[in-house]
Symmetry: C2
Subunit: 214 residues, 2 copies
Amino acid sequence: MILTVVSGWRGLLAVAGLSLTVEGLYYLIRYLKRFRERRPQVLFFPAPVTCVRPLLLSSPGHCSCSLSHRESALSCLTRLLLSARRSLDVCVFTISSVELSNSVLAVHGRGVRVRVITDSDYMALAGSQVGAFRRAGIEVRHDQDANYMHHKFAVIDGLILITGSLNWSAQGIFGNKENVIIIKNTDVVKAFIEEFERLWNEYDPSKYSFSPKS
Amino acid sequence: MILTVVSGWRGLLAVAGLSLTVEGLYYLIRYLKRFRERRPQVLFFPAPVTCVRPLLLSSPGHCSCSLSHRESALSCLTRLLLSARRSLDVCVFTISSVELSNSVLAVHGRGVRVRVITDSDYMALAGSQVGAFRRAGIEVRHDQDANYMHHKFAVIDGLILITGSLNWSAQGIFGNKENVIIIKNTDVVKAFIEEFERLWNEYDPSKYSFSPKS
């Protein structure tokens, strides 16, 4: 029936034109939908003091503590870290937040490859979670000079970048005015992965040369 | 001639279909081009020590100092700040970089509306450029509590967001491992404008209440 109706070159041209239009629109809508899903997300801090312990349980559980368990910038960040399935690369000046370090430990405990880069001065301060990471078998590398390794980013599965002003500390999360952007743009994520690999290589302890003190 | 060839409903359908395809493709290409221009840009620090003085001259000029004048992450940041035509909103924990504060002063000197939010503790330290801003007539507001106003962002003309880990200090620019992302995504820029306006309002000095010390 259709073939009869569209017989002749003009009919074929019409069908070709219309099918191209429909197909073009389909791809445009699909592209825009994917683009919408990939647009950056912003979190502002301080976050309200909430408990994120239920998110860390391997099976859905309940926490009976007196804190609120509602959604917050912290729970969003926690969910993101916990979403890692293949790799979690953390490159943060300060890591003293028990909530975020518990997320990192939980991801490592599931067999995900976790690597941490941090600042040598701040990792030695009280409250730093670097010791807990190392005891759990997570490799941690740090800078070797007087300047700061001042980045505050993480890359999840090589696909999602978390970056901003936020140090991973209780004061950063619950006290300070801070921001975090979650970015899935391939070029941006790639640039941060390259920066991570560059620093990971630069801070490789097998490359250190220690001179014995005279 | 065309009208003769495409006579009949199938011909009209063909023309309609093809013109829709061409128009759809035109808009798709235009959209993708605009999207490409709007994709985020990333700068990593430390930057090489370069002189950006020529960028600050009102007419193209030459600097005979011994420093390099080549392009760098600092010159990119300087150009961006200097591109402000209508407004420059700066919300940065530390502002002690002479290079970046000279850019802010130059923008203010051209009659652009400049507003600065910073942290009360760090604005009092030696090297802070807040005094120079205030002497030039730039309004500076700051937090009022023990926590930090730890953001490190600026919005240019309400259109371009500069944000990241970088404090506007010489150590941040020339010493530390830092990052800055330049974002033009409307939703993200809007979120940071709203955060700026919220803090600008919260830190309005006319709202302070000072109790005389007993």
